[in-house]
Amino acid sequence: MTSIAAVVERAPVSPGADPRARENVLLLLLITPAIVVFSAFWLLPIARLVALGASGEAGIETYLSVLTNGRYASSLLQTLALSGLVTLTTLAIAVISGLFLVRQDFFGRSALVAVMTLPLAFPGVVIGLMVIMLGGRQGIVGDVSVALFGVKTVFAYNMVGLFVGYVYFSIPRVILTVMAAAEKLDIQLEEAARSLGATPPMVFRDVILPGLQPALISSGAICFATSMGAFGTAFTLNAGASVLPMLIYTEFTLNANIAVAAALSVVLGLITWAVLALARSFAGSGVSAAG
C-alpha cells in the first residue's frame, strides 16, 4: 500500500506508463470502501472517545483515576485475574482434549469434535443462561450436590459463575486453534525424539508442547482478550459491577458518567490490545481475534 499511495502521487495514469501503476490505482479503488467505512465508523468515533475520556471534570486525570480510584482499580485487577485464570484453565482443557481428539481415531470422534466446538458463536448472554442452568438455584450442580452432600451449591451469581461462563465460551475457540496446530505437528519429530530414547512424558515436554507453543500463546491471548471484554455473561448473571466491562456499562448507563466510561473503555481497549500485541511478538503472526 505504500507503493499504491506513492504511485498515485507520482505517476499520472497514461497508457504508456508502467503497467503496475495502473494496477495500483485499481487496487486502491478496491480497498477504498473498506478504508472509508472503517475510518468513518471506527477510527473517528474512537478518537472522539479518547478525547471524551479527558473531557470530564477531572480532565486528563480521568485516565489516571482508573488506577487511583480503589473501585476501578480493584475491578481492573479482578478482571485481569479472572481472565488470566480462565485462560490457563481453558488452555489446559484444550491441550488435553484437543490432542486427544486429533491423535485418536475412534467411533464418535467427529461427534465429540462437533460437540466441543458447537458453542463457538453463542453470545455471552446465552452463556449466562448456561451458567444458570449449571450453577443456579435450580442448576444441575445444585441438584447433584443436594443429592450427595445435602447442601445446595449455587455459584451462578458470583465470580465463580463468571469463571465458569468464560471457560464455557473460551473452550470452543481455543480448542479449534489447538486442534489445528496439533494436526500440523510433525509426527516425525515425536518419532525422532522417541528414537533417541525419549519416553512419552519427555516427548510431550520436549516436542509436543514446544510445537503447540505458538498456538497456545496466540489462542491464549485471544481467550484473555475476549474474557477482558466479555460483557453479555456478566450482564445476564447480574454480577454487579465486579468486572470492568460491567463497570463501564454501569458508569455509562447508571451514573451517566460518560467521561469515566470512555476513559475506562480506552484503558480496557489498550490493555487487551497490548496483550494481543505482546503475544504476537512471541508467537509470530496469526494472533488475532479470529474465532
Binding site: M1, S3, L27, L28, L30, I31, P33, A34, I35, F41, W42, L44, P45, I46, R48, L49, I93, S97, F100, D105, L112, V113, V115, M116, T117, L118, L120, A121, F122, P123, G124, V125, V126, G128, L129, M130, V131, M133, L134, Q138, I140, Y168, A225, G229, F231, G232, T236, Y249, F252, A261, A262, S265, L268, L270, T272, W273, L276, S288, A289, A290
Partner: protein, 275 residues
C-alpha cells in the same frame, strides 16, 4: 487391548468437558418446553412458551435476520475486495490495515459501541434506525470476512495464478472475475457463515446501539433472562438455537477452507509419507 489407560483417561476427561458444554444446552431446551421448570418436567410439557416468545419477540427475530443479511452483503461487498488487495500487496501499510480492522473485535465491544453512540448518536434518524446496529455489526464481522478470504487467497499462490492468467491475455478485471473470485469461493463461504453467525449472536456492541424499536435477538434474550420467567427465556433460547445451530454445523462442514473432505485419509497418509 487396543487402547492404553491414557486413552481412557483422556476420553473420560473429554467426555466430561463435552458434558459441561452440552448439559446446560439440553437443560435450557427442556426448560423451554416445561410448564413449570421449578417443579420439573413432571409439571407437564408445553409449547406455550415458544408461542408466547414468538408473539412477544417475533419482531426481534426478523430484525436480527435482516441485520445479519445486510451485514453479510456489506461485508462481502467491502471485505472481499479489501482482502484481495491485502493478498496482493504485502506492505507495511497493508499489514497495518489488516491489524487495524481487527481492533473492533480485539478490544471490548462496549468501547466501540460507546464511541459510536457518542459520535453518531446525535445524527437525526440514524441513531434510532436499524442501520445504526448494522454499522456496529459490520465493524465487528468485517475482519472475519477479510481474514477468511485472505487466508484462502494466500494459500493458493494468487500471484502466480494471476500472472498465468495475464500471460494468457486476461486483463485486471477479467482476472478478478474469472480467477480471483472463483478461487476465493471457499473463503467467502466460510467468511459468510462466520459473519452471519456472529451478527445474529452479537451482544456486547449491540446492547448500547439498540433502541426499544431495534432490539435484536441477543438483546431480547438478555431482557428475557433478567426480566421474564426462566421458561420464557429458555423458550427464546430454543428459538435462537434453532437458528444458530444449523449455521454452526454448516460452519463445521464448510467453514474451514483448508480442510477437505479427504482430510482423514490425508492424515493417515501423512503419518507415513513425510510432508
Amino acid at each position: 487391548m487396543r487402547h492404553g489407560i491414557g486413552f481412557w483417561l483422556q476420553l473420560g476427561f473429554t467426555l466430561l468437558v463435552s458434558a459441561f458444554l452440552m448439559v446446560p444446552i439440553g437443560m435450557s431446551i427442556l426448560a423451554g418446553f416445561t410448564e413449570n421448570y421449578f417443579r420439573g418436567p413432571s409439571s407437564g410439557l408445553t409449547t406455550r412458551w415458544i408461542v408466547e416468545v414468538w408473539e412477544r419477540y417475533g419482531d426481534n427475530i426478523f430484525l436480527s435476520l435482516g441485520i445479519a443479511a445486510s451485514c453479510l452483503v456489506v461485508t462481502i461487498l467491502i471485505g472481499v475486495p479489501a482482502a484481495y488487495v491485502l493478498a496482493k500487496r504485502q506492505s507495511r501499510l497493508s499489514r497495518m490495515f489488516e491489524e487495524l480492522i481487527i481492533l473492533p473485535v480485539a478490544i471490548p465491544g462496549l468501547a466501540t459501541a460507546l464511541a459510536l453512540v457518542m459520535l453518531y448518536g446525535t445524527f437525526g434518524g440514524f441513531r434510532s434506525s436499524w442501520t445504526f446496529v448494522l454499522v456496529g455489526h459490520v465493524l465487528y464481522t468485517l475482519p472475519f470476512m477479510v481474514r477468511s478470504v485472505l487466508a484462502v487467497l494466500s494459500s493458493i499462490d494468487l500471484r502466480t495464478l494471476e500472472e498465468g492468467a495475464a500471460s494468457l491475455g486476461a486483463g485486471f478485471w477479467t482476472r478478478f472475475w474469472t480467477i480471483v473470485l472463483p478461487n476465493a469461493g471457499s473463503g467467502i463461504l466460510a467468511g459468510s457463515l462466520m459473519v452471519t453467525t456472529l451478527s445474529i449472536g452479537e451482544f456486547n456492541l449491540t446492547l448500547l446501539l439498540t433502541t426499544p424499536f431495534t432490539q435484536t435477538i441477543p438483546v431480547g434474550l438478555a431482557v428475557a433472562y433478567t426480566n421474564a420467567r426462566l421458561e420464557l427465556g429458555s423458550a427464546y433460547t430454543v428459538l435462537f438455537f434453532a437458528m444458530i445451530i444449523p449455521l454452526l454445523v454448516a460452519m463445521q462442514i464448510w467453514g474451514n477452507p483448508s480442510r477437505t473432505s479427504t482430510k482423514r485419509k490425508r492424515r493417515a497418509l501423512e503419518k507415513v509419507v513425510s510432508p
